[in-house]
């Protein structure tokens, strides 16, 4: 298909020229183009999408309950020694300590970018090593690492009861079962219920009646305790070595059984629990937390929010879709049971929208640049430059994918930022080819020689200039703090895109120029039909 041609007579000085020369007749050039576009497209589809980039914040809380101690005491005997010990850990930026009544809370923040696992381990280790320092009466410390990626839920679903088909415990069971199903989906990290109340038998003692029956609260507690015991099954053997298993059933089977607990006996007549207290099968009244949802039309329900978070490095879009699919499957059943549900947070959708919007922007920009080039250089030249853009972005995306980055707002901004820069190399090459072609006497020049020389000519300054832009981006990778971490995708991706733009420009611009442009038919281009009079040709480098 493509005839081999000897190009060795064309001298090149720069790698721009040699790339142009080597790929001009190489049959693999076209294959390479298709391959690049394919891996780029695949990366775009497969790469995890999120709205904001992952920032590795590591840190944790240490909670130490110390019943009966005052803030001042806690500060002196508990917090201060522990603070000093925590100071010994390398990588900790701040220690925040709160000495409150009955409890001490220490929050530890590591420097941004510290390894999460080892940070968590170090914290736990330090606390455990110093357990002997803890004063008496203090309970076992709880060490809870926080993890931004696992702790921030990507989905929030509010459930509410819009009819009384189910009792609260039944309703809660439905939701808990659904939660279990969601937790078993791929890449779901943590599921949590907010606003849920547990079922509970509430025994509310009337103080006046208690007095009337001459009882104390202690007696009531004893009465309940003595009867609500579960015993494991007991085994016994028969004479024939057969096993007989019998168990003692929990006496409390329903709310009625609780009501009928005998708390005292006076002169042979029993006092039942229901005589001194109201017993209700309801929810945990000591838990003051609750959640509501108010809709646009003003209707208000008590709600339970189920929040779902994903594992780090996984695709928020996919996880959210999976959960939504599951929800849809259950929707009919839930509606029949009188349970309504509404998705109140969907970061998966937001991530997808943000990414799609930016991809859309990227495409619009490419089209605008292409149209602009049609006017200045001609449509064939414009087509060549426009091809290089997806090829460059494909390489960049693929490298980003290989280095475990995700597609997020900032990655795409890095692309948008580099878009203006990465067409430059191709524009400079094509403009130089264009200029050479429209020079006086160019009709007699060998097309191959022209393409390669034109590429070679601007090679050195373009390389240096691109290198200069790359150099401006590299120091940005060393910006510290949250903001530095937040914009990391820019210094990671822009230099890659720029480097790729050089290679693509030197390989594909002459190659496509060979296919699309020709000196022999100058009337193709409106402007070139006029006699060009620019006398300048320089073959820089050959003399050097």
């Amino acid at each position: 298909m493509i005839e081999e041609k000897d190009l060795s007579h064309i001298k090149t000085t720069d790698f721009a020229g040699s790339l142009a020369k080597n790929f001009l007749y190489n049959p693999l050039t076209a294959v390479l183009a298709i391959f690049l576009l394919a891996i780029g497209y695949l990366s775009l589809e497969i790469m995890p999408r999120e709205e904001d980039p992952q920032i590795s914040i590591s840190g944790g809380s240490i909670i130490i309950p110390a019943p009966g101690l005052q803030p001042k005491e806690i500060e002196k005997i508990l917090v201060e020694p522990l603070e000093q010990k925590l100071r010994e850990i390398k990588g900790i930026e701040h220690i925040y300590a709160m000495s409150m009544e009955n409890v001490a809370v220490l929050n530890v923040m590591y420097y941004i970018g510290q390894d999460r696992e080892s940070s968590n381990l170090k914290l736990y280790d330090k606390v455990m090593q110093n357990m002997d320092m803890l004063p008496k009466n203090v309970m076992h410390p709880l060490v809870k690492p926080f993890d931004i990626d696992i702790d921030i839920p990507i989905l929030g679903i509010a459930f509410y009861q819009n009819s009384n088909n189910l009792s609260y415990p039944e309703y809660l069971t439905e939701i808990e079962n659904l939660k279990k199903e969601i937790a078993s989906l791929d890449n779901v990290a943590k599921t949590q219920l907010k606003g849920a109340h547990k079922q509970q038998y509430n025994v509310q003692v009337d103080l006046a009646k208690l007095k009337g029956y001459h009882l104390s609260l202690g007696q009531i507690v004893k009465g309940i305790e003595s009867i609500a015991v579960s015993v494991p099954s007991v085994k016994a053997q028969t004479k024939n070595n057969e096993l007989v298993i019998f168990g003692i059933k929990n006496v409390i089977d329903s709310i009625k059984d609780v009501e009928n607990i005998i708390v005292a006996q006076y002169m042979g007549s029993p006092t039942y629990l229901k005589d001194v207290a109201t017993v209700i099968d309801s929810t945990d009244i000591q838990n003051k937390q609750s959640a509501y949802i108010i809709f646009k039309d003003g209707t208000e329900y008590e709600q339970i929010t189920l929040s779902v978070s994903k594992l780090a490095g996984t695709n928020a879009v996919f996880v959210a879709d999976d959960v939504n699919k599951l929800l849809k499957e259950n929707k009919n059943r839930l509606t029949k049971l009188g349970i309504g549900c509404v998705v109140t947070r969907n970061y998966g959708q937001r991530a997808n929208e943000a990414v799609n919007e930016l991809i859309h922007h990227l495409l619009i920009t490419i089209v605008i640049i292409a149209i602009m080039l049609v006017f200045f250089l001609g449509w064939r030249e414009s087509l060549i430059v426009t091809f290089t853009v997806p090829a460059i972005l494909a390489i960049t995306l693929f490298i980003a994918f290989m280095t475990d980055q995700t597609i997020n707002r900032i990655t795409l901004f890095a692309f948008l930022l580099s878009l203006g820069l990465l067409v430059d190399a191709a524009i400079i090459v094509i403009e130089n080819i264009h200029r050479h072609m429209h020079e006086e006497g160019s009709e007699n020049r060998d097309m191959d020689e022209l393409l390669i020389t034109a590429s070679d000519e601007i090679g050195a300054p373009t390389n240096v200039a691109t290198l200069a832009i790359i150099l401006t981006m590299v120091p940005m990778a060393f910006v510290g703090g949250m903001m530095g971490e937040f914009m990391k995708p820019i210094p990671y991706n822009v230099p890659v895109a720029l480097l790729a733009s050089l290679f693509i420009a030197y390989i594909f611009t002459p190659y496509l120029g060979k296919k699309l442009l020709s000196v022999s038919k100058p009337q193709e281009d409106e402007k070139s039909s006029e006699t060009e009079q620019k006398p300048v040709t320089i073959t820089r480098g050959e003399n050097k």
């Binding site: 509501y292 929010t305 619009i364 640049i369 130089n432 060393f478």
Partner: protein, 563 residues
Amino acid sequence: MAHNNKGKRFENFVFNILDKKSLSLLVMLLIFISFVASMLMFPAKGVLAKMLPNKSTNTFTVYIDMPKGKSIGQTKSVARCVTNLLQKEKEVNDMEIFLGQGSPLDYAGLVKGSGMKQGEEFAEIVVNLSDKHSRKEKSYKMVQRLRPVIKDTCQSIVRGTVIKMIEMPAGPPTLASVVLEVYGKDNRKVILLAAEVADVLQVVDGLVDVDVMADERYKKYTLNPIADKTAQSGLSIKQVNQILYLAFEGMGVAVKNTIDLNNQIPIFVSLSEESQSIDKNTLELLRNKLGQLSLMNMKGVMIPLIEIVEIREELSVPMIYHKDLRTMVNVVAETDMVSQVYPLLQAREKMIQRFAQKYEITKEPGITTYMFDLHLQNKQTGEKFLLRFDGEMKVTLDTFRDLGGAFIAALILIFLLLVVYYKSFALSAIVLGGSFLSIIGVIVGHWIADMITTETFFLTATSLIGFIALMGISSRNSLLLIDFAQGLIKEKGMEKTRAIALASATRAKPIILTAIAIILGSALLASDPVFGGLGVALISGTVAAVMISLIFIPILLNKTKAI
């Protein structure tokens, strides 16, 4: 034909400037004046700096922090007031109220301690708006409009309530826009000073949601068991504690296992609500209530609780907060659609005035990111306090410092690269100097953007990134120009001034083409809330860079002997 005529005309234009000394000087003077003028825009506040601008989103959150010691019922009444007001908004799709706890964690809540909230005094309301594309009003505009309304109506229901409107941050989240850390030795005095600092912040324009992050003191009662009486009556203090807890807080005393449910069912014993409630928060009524409670000792004799305990009224002890081992109290404030820099400086001035009477004030020496800090020393007692400015301001300063460092590093790297390439310091300096001048475009661009947009257009961290990138772009233009001119002189033996003019004219087309590509590429960036600064910086900076590369750089080249 017209095209080439233009090229020729431009060549002559540049040649004229190069050839006539007066014209060259005039151009240089003009550029110098515009450079100075643009730099003056910072002190003149023509361009305002901020780390990251606001972002329109579909959600915002209302935090309600009641004074400690308030009941869930009181918190609920405030939350109800807020939702009633928000209910009238057309763009509100739904609202979720979380009482006694934080809402499901988000980016903002992560650093604002939303996940740690637990107690009857907290509530959070998540307000979900209609989609931002179909909504006219930007979410931050809406928050700005609603904030005073909500605060005026609802904050007064319970004294000491703080209502905050939290927006989704455009970039990395911070505790608050303005955070003042008050350090000292004694917790109580630090809290008092913090309250004064909060008073100052309250009156500064542009600051809202001011809050002292310390516990308020509230009235409470302690029951002190009288040791010998307790022992005499055959009871133990532990028993007394338990019964009291059981009576008023309640306790799960047993569980019922179930087969068909996911959890055990606890049996929870407490006094009935009616028996628990005390008509008024007074010592007398509490004593009456406790008088009705009796305990049974080992012998089975009932002993009234009131006989073995003493009730005393006292104030609660506030929480003691440490940061990095030092006692500290945070005073936080949010900015209301303005940059935090200017209110902060104003607040600092006001603080210096206010504290000058009582305290000896020393400023933080040197230029660090803590350069706004104030050291206070009480004139009478000699106690030392430190007012440290933290929060978004600190992050901004840190980021700008780091970006500035990155920028200087970039300058040095480019310079070295150019020296290696040209083997001439003069040429390298020309390229670099020319690139640096593109800052004129960046600043003027922001000034124009600020004038055409209705909201303040800030110079942000992303503008700086844009400027750094511009350095590279601008030096590329100069590089191609110099390379071409050198080629013309060496190979064609052309006269220097003519060669530079011709190079400028020939390279004008690719330079303008790439510039247009950048401008078009950044046009969509410019409308983005976060990366708008980057877009504007690139667009206006590129325009300046083109003019500088094509006119100013040739003048400098013409003057140097290096070419």
